[in-house]
Every structure is written in C-alpha cells, then in structure tokens.
C-alpha cells in the first residue's frame, strides 16, 4: 500500500531526456545483465516529451479504450501513462510474454533513482 510515509518514486517528466539509464540500472540489478525488455521502468520517447513509467500491479483485463488523454498538457495514448502490466501491453512482462513485472524498489534503494542523471526520478519517503 502506498500510504503516508511509504516509499515512492516521484517522476518529473519535464526533466527526462530519454537516455534510458534507468532501464539499464533496473534490468542490471534484477537480472544481472543489461536487458531493458525486462526492466520494471520504461521510458516512452515522444516527440515533445519523454515519459518514464514504473510498473505497478498486474491487471488481467485491460479497460482502456485506447483513447488519447491529456497528461501535463501533452496529448498521449492512455496506454502509455497506465502503469499496469496487462495482457495487451508489450512492456512490463518477462521474456515469456506472460509473467508480469512489478517495481519492488530494489529492496529500499531503487537503482533507477541512483542512476538518473537529470533529476527526473526522485525518491520520497522510505529512507
């Protein structure tokens, strides 16, 4: 549960440059090799902005209608801002295409936050 005082990673997408070092950091820490497909954080590279998204819980049914939604002044596909791992999405799943991935905060020291060179990711609470 993400109650008061719980660990949280804040995302300021205006600072994200799309370098994907967070994806490298995450996959390296969880798999022992660089494999961004297995990262629990993914960065969407848009023309006007980049958006890091961190995997949350698995959802068996996708209730998105594929609409475009407004996100901080940018029009973006609803599926991009959704944090769920789901049967439709091509990210947040193991290489078998099924097993969902979910952020575990690297047991209290999220490597994506440590590596992020721009300040787009910051840790709130927990430490």
């Amino acid at each position: 549960m993400e109650g008061k005082g719980a660990m949280k990673i804040n995302i300021d997408h205006t600072k994200c440059s799309g370098c994907k070092l967070c994806e490298v950091a995450c996959s390296l820490n969880h798999t022992g090799a660089v494999n961004v497909q297995r990262s629990r954080i993914r960065v969407f590279i848009g023309e006007e902005f980049c958006l890091p998204v961190i995997a949350r819980n698995y959802k068996a049914v996708c209730d998105s209608k594929g609409d475009m939604v407004m996100y901080n002044g940018h029009e973006v596909d609803e599926c991009v801002v959704c944090r769920a791992s789901c049967p439709v999405k091509s990210v947040f799943k193991e290489l078998d295409g099924k097993t969902p991935l979910k952020c575990d905060f690297c047991r209290g020291d999220p490597q994506c936050v440590r590596w992020c060179p721009t300040g787009a990711l910051t840790l709130v609470g927990g430490r």
């Binding site: 440059s17 799309g18 370098c19 994907k20 070092l21 490298v24 950091a25 996959s27 390296l28 820490n29 798999t31 022992g32 090799a33 660089v34 494999n35 961004v36 497909q37 297995r38 993914r42 969407f44 590279i45 023309e47 006007e48 902005f49 980049c50 594929g66 596909d77 599926c79 991009v80 439709v88 999405k89 091509s90 990210v91 290489l95 490597q111 440590r114 590596w115 060179p117 721009t118």
Partner: protein, 611 residues
C-alpha cells in the same frame, strides 16, 4: 562462458539474392580490433576490393556496434557505418547516436553487413533472429519522419503505443534514393550518419530503411564494479559542471569561442568570424528562441541533442538541431544570420536526408562562384548572393530530387566548382566540405586544424582527431604529435563505440580502457589500445591508397595556403606540417606507410598491395 560485452554475431544480408545469414565473430576480431570503426574497417579490408564502384552492388555497407554499445556506459550508445564513400572515393566511417546501436545488440548482433542490390525498393526488418527483406515500394519517395513512423508501425506486433515506440529505424530520404553524393542515413528522429554520402550507398542498393528491435541481453563482466563506476562517473560529471554545461548548451557555446579565435567558417571561408552571429555568442539566445527539449542518446547522461521548432505552420513539427556545425555551414558560411532560415535548412536536410556540413559547404561555394560571376543567375535559377536564405531552401529541395541546378549541386561542391572552372573555390578536402572550424584562426597552433582536415582519411572532418585551442609557441612540432596521438586515440573511441564529443581530448582519456575492462573482462593497457588505434589509422590509409587516392589528395584549398582572412588569421604552411607528420607516422614522403611500419603493426600482407 564467452566474452561479455560483445554478442559475438554478424548478420549478413545479400540483397541481390535475398540471402540472410548469421556468422560467429572471431576472437581475433573482438580482442584485437574491438568493434565499431576498427573492426568494421578490418572486415571491409578483408572482404572488399577497394577499387569497387561505391554505388555499385559490390560495395558493402557495414553497420558496426562495439562491446560498450547498449550497455549503459555513459556516452556509449553510438554505432558506426563503414563503407566506401561515393563522395570521396575513399573509406567512410561516420558515427551516429540515438538508439539503433543498442537495439541491434539487443536483437543479437554486433555487426550488420549489407551486400548486393535489391531488385526492387526494399526495407530490412530485424526482430531478434527473425530477419526479413520486405517491399518498400510504398515508402519510396517519402521523407524521413513519415518513413520512420511507417516502419515503426510495421515492426510492431502488438497494437499498443509502446510497441511502436520500441524499434529503431535507419532510413534514407529522397536524397539517398536519388544518389545525392552527400546524402545521409537518418535515424531515430533526426540523428544522422551524416558524412561521406552513405545515404547514396543505401539508395544504390534500393534499401530504403532498416528497422530493428530485440529482447536480448548484453552481459557485463564486472556487474558490481560497473554499477559503481557509472554512478561515480555521473557524479564526477555533475561536480565538474560538465554535465550541466553540455546538457544546457549542447554545442551552442562553441559559437562564441570560434568567433573570438577567428575559427568560425564565414562566407565560404573567406573570413573567420561573422558579424551577424554576434547575438549567438551568448548561447542562451539560441536556446531561448528555438529549443523544445534536451534529448539524450541511449545511455548518455549529457543530453546534448536539442529538439527545436520555429512555430511556423509551413514547417510543422520539430527537428533535431541545428548544432554548431549546421549553424556554421548554413549560417555564417552562407552569410545567413536569421536563425529561422538556418533552422529550415536543417529541417529540410534532416527530412530529405542530406549532410548539413557538405550541404552547406556546397551551397556556400556556389554563392561565391555566383558573386564572382563564374556561375550565372540563369544557370542557378536564383540570384545566389551570400545571405539569400530563401534560395538555399529552394535549392536544397531541388538537390534532393536532382531538379534543375539541384542536379549539379547533388554531385557536391567540388564538382560544381570544377564545372565552373574554379575547383580551388570549393572549401574541403577529398571533395568533402570543411566542417565549421576555420583552419586559419588568429592564434599560433590553430592552423593544425588544417593538417587534421588534410590527413583525415574520410576527407575534411572535425571528428577524426582533437582540435587544438591552446598554443603559446610558433613551433608546431608538438601539435603535429598531438594530432597523430589523438587520431589514434579517437579510433579507439570509435571502436567502443564511445561518443567523440564527450571522450575527446585529455579529459577522461583513461576511461576507454577502464570501461572496456569492466564490460568485457578483457584488460587493455593504454599502450595496447594506442597500438590498435595506430593500426587502424594505417588500415584506413592503406584502403585509400588501394582505392586510388594518394598524398596529392591530402591538400588544402589554395586560399588556406596563401591568403589570410582580411580581419586577421594565419596562412597555413602545410608542407612542413605534412613532412613532420609523415615522419612521425613512419610513412614515406608520398604518405605511403614504410614496410617496417607495416611490419610493426602486423600489416605486412599489405606491402605488395600498395606498391
């Protein structure tokens, strides 16, 4: 357990026969040629006759990553293309950022070798080991962004937006299709394999694009050490101010430095500074006016890429750039001070797929020919005075489609000047245009830039050694040694593949060997690396000699050697510089590596071939 870092695989595609195959990388290639530019050169030298027609089916186009590509090594996300250049007739090895290199590794390959010629327009789809040649009739003629989006959609098996976001695309625009001699290969929203005209090589093979994505991993030899080294590197870059400086300005802070030292190309290199660029000596002027956001290549903390727009409905969307080179070549060198005009030229070159450097050099050359009366307005179709930004934009479009006078421009500035009877007015080396740095700066030592252009194997280039900015003495001997040292060192940077912009110069020079060791587990001494770098430089020389180039092609335009810019600057006294250069390289006075040098570097088999 094999070596970490490398994937150990070559993907070879024969477009003539539609044949696709995988090969293992030899240990020799990995350990002794590392990857990128050096391993790519080695493959080209081993497999291809340097005399082939660069636009014929026998030319090969090699896309080469290095052991560091896709690992997250800071400023290590780049890749190289190696081929024979249709512009210079010599070796070509431009470097590019973005995500393509990383994605090629994740698909499972260190190198992609393209051979032959497709009978029909085609594109290559690489999804892990599922590699297919697909028809591209529907994409032929399309501009860069439209092509990229189409390939992204076609490579995506799922319907979600993430699926379209994952692949990387390499493509040519209309310029490459129409064999413009300075056509570029574009990638991932405005990154470019800009120089040497390799877009035309792709065009000659009827290959419109390459899309790649993969789910594979890259293994790291020392994971704990690697994690620490990266966090330390970013911390160091932050503390020294490098991170903020480079991220904020990209290359825009170089305008002021070039103006002050008289090293800014201006009016086809007649001058070394430009009054119209006074406002841009403060880079904030540029940033505030056009920048949308800062973009990084894969794994790079520095984000020097600048996505920009001019908010003009006639030019919808954004472009990457213009960086220092484009500002110089389409700005000061064409006498254009209006940032909007320069931006539009940059936008058109990105979308049509042309090198902004040789593109700008070609048009500025035509401008001088026009002002001197060697080309008429009737021939060109416009009164092409310096400063005529509107004509530049029209001519760029005509060049990409080889229409009217654009058909001449498409052959490059040297051809235009030669046809007009004045080849000496094209400012370049080996028919490739000078970059934005003027070799006739106001301070002693800056003329070594001229030596670097003259001796670069790919024609005039600013990325094959390291510029000198500080010299107190008229004795240039140490700077010739500097030039040689950094030519060899940059070869290593390009083999990693690390980014020349970040790793050039003495700062972080020792990092190449430490990154290689952390990632691959192979320990390279600095001496060993420099030997590999020197070997590479000699391999490129041997390729060029065997391709028919000679020391006669190592010259500079007459103006550089005889006339100083009117507002101050130095004449480049090239012959003594070349003599000293040949001496320390172990080359004879014709620039041919001596047999003992070839022996020392393990290149003896080439003794006969270059006689």
């Amino acid at each position: 357990m094999g070596l970490c870092g490398w994937k150990g695989k070559i993907l070879r595609v024969d477009l003539t026969r539609g044949k696709i195959g995988e090969e293992d990388l030899s240990d020799d290639l990995m350990l002794n040629y590392i990857g990128g530019r050096i391993a790519g050169n080695k493959i080209l030298l081993d497999e291809m006759d340097p005399m082939v027609d660069p636009l014929g089916p026998d030319n090969k186009l090699i896309f080469a990553t290095g052991p560091l590509t896709g690992t997250g090594v800071p400023a290590g996300g780049r890749f190289i293309a190696v081929s024979k250049s249709p512009l210079t007739g010599g070796i070509a090895n431009p470097c590019c950022g973005g995500y393509f290199g990383a994605n090629l590794k994740y698909a499972g390959y260190d190198f992609l070798i393209i051979e032959g010629k497709s009978p029909e327009p085609a594109y290559l789809s690489i999804v892990n080991d599922q590699v297919t040649i697909k028809p591209a009739e529907h994409l032929w003629g399309k501009w860069a962004t439209e092509t990229e989006n189409a390939i992204r959609a076609e490579l995506s098996d799922s319907k979600d937006a993430w699926g379209r976001n994952t692949p990387s695309v390499l493509l040519i625009g209309p310029a490459g299709e129409n064999l413009v001699s300075f056509a570029s290969i574009m990638s991932d929203g405005g990154r470019a394999l800009g120089r040497s005209g390799l877009g035309a090589v792709m065009g000659s093979k009827n290959l419109k694009a390459i899309g790649v994505k993969g789910t594979g991993e890259v293994r790291i030899a020392d994971v704990k050490g690697f994690q620490k080294a990266i966090i330390d590197f970013i911390g160091e870059a932050r503390e020294t101010g490098q991170l903020e400086n480079r991220s904020k300005w990209g290359t825009w802070d170089l305008i002021g430095r070039a103006q002050k030292t008289g090293t800014l190309c201006s009016l086809n290199f007649k001058e070394g500074d430009f009054d119209g660029f006074k406002p841009y000596e403060d880079p904030a002027t540029i940033r505030d006016k056009i920048r949308v956001r800062d973009e990084a290549c894969f794994g790079c903390p520095f984000r020097c890429g600048k996505r920009s727009t001019i908010f003009d409905p006639a030019y919808p969307g954004t472009a990457k750039g213009p960086e220092h080179e484009t500002l110089g070549l389409f700005g000061s060198n064409c006498g254009v001070a209006d940032l909007d005009e320069i931006w539009k030229a940059n936008y058109l070159c990105n979308e049509l797929g042309m090198d902004t450097i040789t593109g700008g050099a070609t048009i500025s050359c035509a401008m001088e020919l026009y002002e001197l009366g060697y080309l008429t307005g009737k021939t060109i179709g416009y009164p092409l005075n310096f400063g005529n930004g509107t004509a530049i934009l029209e001519l760029l479009k005509k060049t990409a489609f080889r229409k009217d006078f654009g058909d001449q421009l498409a052959d490059g500035g040297y051809a235009v000047a030669e046809r007009a009877g004045h080849p000496e007015l094209f400012m370049g080396v080996k028919k490739q245009g000078f970059p934005a740095w003027h070799p006739q700066g106001r301070f002693p030592g800056l003329e070594v830039i001229g030596l670097q252009y003259a001796t670069s194997p790919v024609g005039a280039s600013h990325t094959k050694s390291v510029m000198t900015f500080h010299s107190q003495s008229d004795d240039l001997t140490p700077l010739v040694a500097w030039t040689k040292h950094y030519q060899d060192y940059v070869s290593i940077v390009d083999a990693g593949v690390l980014c020349w912009i970040i790793y050039h110069g003495p700062m972080w020079e020792d990092k190449a060997s430490s990154w290689l060791e952390l990632v691959t587990g192979v320990s390279y001494s600095q001496d060993k690396l420099m030997m590999i770098g020197e070997k590479n430089w000699n391999m490129e020389r041997l390729f060029n000699l065997a391709a028919g180039l000679s020391s006669e092609d190592d010259g500079l335009p007459q103006r550089m050697l005889t006339e100083a810019p009117p507002r101050g600057g130095r004449v480049v006294d090239l012959p003594p510089l070349l003599e000293e250069y040949h001496r320390i390289r172990g080359w004879d006075n014709k620039g041919v590596p001596k047999p003992e040098k070839l022996e020392e570097l393990g290149l003896s088999e080439w003794k006969v071939k270059v006689q």
